[in-house]
């Protein structure tokens, strides 16, 4: 904003390229001096990483900083974080960008003013064994400052002054090996006495990386280009069970959506039946004049769910996700029947009712569901016919059928007419496909044949997409148009 306001229009677009050219040949051009432009640059960098930093956020940040003594680094960072980063994911990205940004700003300043640091040069005379021990101690218990000092010492001792490999990551690992630092292996009962905690080791590596960068910048008198963050860095750590918990949360929403469907659609009034008794009773309040009509309660429909889940090899990666969806559904719905299929179909409702642990369920289904017949290839056509034969009499307009599968029939007859009969009998039919939309109808995928009979077809292999599906279910209010009914 203000940083490009002084120069010609279009300059703002050219600047990043100018910075790119300067990789090792000087400094990227600096904006106007002062504090506000720096903050705008930081905001710009945050935006490039996908944070929604609007003008109102920036104004908040400035207001917040006015209230604080911004010479305190922690307060400064917290105030900016509270006003600019508004979710846990954003906060993580913010931390990384903030560190990088101010590191670069400080280094640029140092290069411009020609400041260099006295570095410890006498690496050869150090007792290496002693040094290793001291570093290990610092990594285990030392403060941030001690770790940084030790990182410098380590670079001085093992860093081959002035001629690293040129790739900082490689140098860091080389120094770590030279120091004989090992992270504790997870899950081992008795830790190796020489190893250090993983997170502390990572912290130490971060210091090494930073000090090496600093030395490189000083040597070459230039800043390396700012790279966008890698996905790995910005992702929050999570375990498989927490993923399972996330699925459960979304399914809980799904349950509410299914249960309350129809209430929001405004159709209630239209078909309401006046409850004479309660209306008369209420009219006593107004002197016998029936001012307010009382209506008969409509019983909310209890959704009956039929879930058909493909567990063949073509959807292996997705089937864990699907099974966890099934598992979560069984936790929330009483009237739910689930089926798995490959070549033929098999009802697994009782497996889910018997077992509560997810691991036990996947094991039971993998071993004795009896769904693979001979070839082990999915046969959707046959599945529909069997499903029709087994349960079609139970389907009624109140039931919802959800199919989880990729619609790859391996070249066999899709029997779309059978599927049509199912969707006709059921109130609603949805299809969740674990493949990206791009691959639909390529090869042996026949999703198109079924799409016409579904109330909605969705891509779905992450919890996010499952949420989209759940939102679309609320339907009728245009939150997400149901595709497939086009």
């Amino acid at each position: 904003m203000a940083s490009s306001g002084s120069s010609a229009p279009g300059n703002g677009a050219r600047r990043p390229r100018a910075a790119g050219r300067a990789i090792y040949g000087g400094l990227p051009e600096a904006g106007p001096p002062g504090f506000a432009p720096r903050l705008l640059e930081l905001a710009d960098e945050l935006r490039r990483e996908g944070l929604a930093v609007g003008t109102s956020e920036l104004l908040d940040a400035f207001h917040a900083l006015e209230e604080l003594s911004w010479t305190d680094q922690e307060d400064f960072r917290e105030a900016l974080a509270a006003t600019l980063a508004k979710s846990q994911e954003d906060r993580r990205v913010f931390e990384i960008v903030f560190d990088r940004f101010f590191f670069r700003a400080v280094e640029r300043e140092a290069v411009e003013r020609g400041l260099t640091e006295e570095r410890y040069g006498g690496g050869d005379r150090l007792d290496l064994e002693d040094l290793r021990e001291r570093i290990r101690e610092a990594v285990r218990h030392g403060s941030d400052g001690e770790m940084r000092d030790m990182a410098r010492l380590a670079i001085a001792a093992f860093g081959r002054q002035g001629e690293g490999s040129g790739v900082i990551g490689v140098d860091v690992q080389r120094i770590r090996r030279a120091l004989e630092l090992k992270g504790e292996a997870a899950g081992r009962e008795l830790p190796d006495p020489d190893s250090v905690p993983q997170d502390r080791l990572r912290e130490f590596e971060r210091h090494l990386r930073r000090e090496l960068e600093r030395a490189l910048i000083e040597r070459t008198q230039s800043l390396p280009p700012a790279k966008p963050l890698r996905e790995l860095d910005r992702a929050l750590p999570s375990g498989p069970l927490q993923d399972l918990a996330a699925v459960h949360r979304v399914v809980a929403q799904l349950k509410r959506r299914l249960a309350t469907r129809g209430h929001e659609q405004g159709g209630r009034r239209r078909s309401a039946v006046v409850d004479i008794r309660r209306t008369m009773r209420a009219s006593l309040e107004t002197g016998g004049v029936p001012m307010r009509l009382r209506y008969r309660h409509r019983r909310p429909r209890r959704p009956e769910l039929y879930i058909l889940c493909d567990v063949s090899t073509s959807v292996t990666s997705a089937s864990v996700f699907f099974l966890s969806v099934l598992h979560a559904l069984h936790d929330s719905f009483r009237k739910l029947r689930s089926f798995v299929f490959v070549e033929r179909i098999s009802e697994v409702t009782d497996v889910f009712e018997r077992e509560r642990s997810f691991a036990a369920i996947s094991h039971a289904i993998a071993t004795d569901a009896g769904v693979a017949d001979v070839s082990g290839y999915t046969d959707y056509g046959r599945v529909w016919l069997e499903f029709l034969g087994q349960v079609v009499d139970d389907l009624d307009p109140r039931s919802t059928v959800i199919v989880l599968g990729d619609a790859r029939t391996n070249g066999r007859e899709p029997h779309a007419d059978a599927f049509a009969r199912i969707s006709e009998r059921a109130g609603r039919t949805f299809w969740l496909n674990p493949e990206p939309r791009l691959y639909w109808n390529y090869g042996d995928s026949v999703i198109q044949a079924y799409e016409a009979y579904c109330d909605g077809v969705f891509e779905c292999w992450t919890t996010k997409q499952l949420e989209v599906f759940v939102n679309a279910l609320a339907g009728g209010r245009g939150i997400a148009p149901a595709p497939g009914r086009a």
């Binding site: 929604a52 609007g54 109102s56 956020e57 908040d60 207001h63 917040a64 209230e67 604080l68 922690e74 307060d75 917290e78 105030a79 974080a81 509270a82 006003t83 980063a85 508004k86 979710s87 846990q88 906060r91 009962e189 375990g239 498989p240 069970l241 927490q242 399972l244 918990a245 949360r249 809980a252 929403q253 509410r256 309350t260 309040e285 107004t286 002197g287 001012m291 307010r292 509560r356 642990s357 997810f358 949420e467």
Partner: protein, 289 residues
């Protein structure tokens, strides 16, 4: 701010103190997110005690609407009024009459705004409501006013300190986030949690308390469906007190771990991983070292 919160029994972390301070100074609402049981609701209560303001709480739930959150017309009273005046007054007069403040039932949000002295407004578990409700909150949160079609705009007498909490079960809208400061409350580190536990269960000996907190932290490190919250470690401390336990060994842990772990699958994992370490005495050594 920190001393104020400490004096009413809430040990706040650096960022919590700073954000609360900013919220009070800038008059902006704070969106507090974090895992269940890290003291989000408690923070609002502590703030109200520390600033000696009244706490007004709006508990959100699915299907909460403006009649429950903002205001509602008192139909019965209006009807009675109409009946009482039916004979004499003309329509105009009656209409003006029945849409006055007198016939308004104020709900938490309107109460918070109408109050003469500033209050602390807690909007709890905002993620439980629908997106439509969030949109309705925007006017209150950014301008501290409520428009009532029949009455006009009611402006705040004083700026309430607003806290919104969310358990992160769904993504809140950008519009809402834009109007708030953001605070992520996470589980505290060992030292702070130790302080908290000792504050709430002062009779528990230092060593037992430390061991308890270390065990809780270790359990949180496992991949569980529901990691134990601060409230649960306090409950556990109190339970140990009641049982008169002077050490946490494998058998005490076996008997009491249902207080902190509340899923069957989690129980198995925890019993296996933590039970072994306790019987080896690994933790005891850590506790003193």
């Amino acid at each position: 701010m920190r001393d104020g919160l400490g004096a009413v029994g809430y040990l706040a972390g650096e960022s919590t103190v700073l954000v609360s301070f900013l919220a009070a100074r800038l008059g902006k609402p704070v969106l507090v997110e974090g895992p269940a049981g890290v003291g989000k609701t408690e923070l609002a209560k502590a703030l109200s005690r520390a600033t000696e303001r009244k706490l007004i709480r709006l508990q959100c739930y699915e299907g909460l609407d403006e009649a429950k959150a903002l205001y509602e017309w008192n139909y019965r009273k209006q009807l009675l009024r109409i009946q009482a005046e039916a004979a004499g007054a003309g329509w105009e007069a009656v209409q003006e009459d029945i849409f006055g403040p007198e016939f308004l039932l104020s709900r938490p949000l309107l109460q918070a705004i109408e109050d003469e002295s500033p209050v602390v407004l807690l909007i709890d578990e905002i993620d439980k409501t629908d997106q439509e409700f969030e949109a309705m909150l925007l006017e209150v949160l950014s301008d501290f006013q409520i428009s009532i079609p029949e009455l006009g705009v009611i402006e705040a007498q004083s700026r309430p300190l607003v806290l919104l909490t969310s358990n992160n079960t769904r993504e809140l809208t950008e519009a809402l986030k834009r109007r708030c400061l953001y605070l992520w409350l996470d589980y505290p580190d060992v030292e702070r949690e130790l302080e908290i536990v000792r504050l709430h269960a002062p009779e528990l000996s230092e060593t037992v308390a430390r061991k308890l907190v270390e065990v809780v932290h270790m359990i949180r490190g496992l991949d569980l469906k529901k990691p134990p919250s601060i409230a649960e470690s306090i409950d556990w401390a109190r339970a140990l007190l009641m049982l008169g336990a002077d050490d946490i060994d494998a058998s005490v842990f076996q008997r009491t771990m249902s207080i902190i772990v509340k899923h069957r699958t989690d129980l198995d994992v925890v019993a296996e991983r933590v039970g072994v370490k306790l019987s080896d005495g690994v933790l005891g050594k850590l506790g003193t070292g």
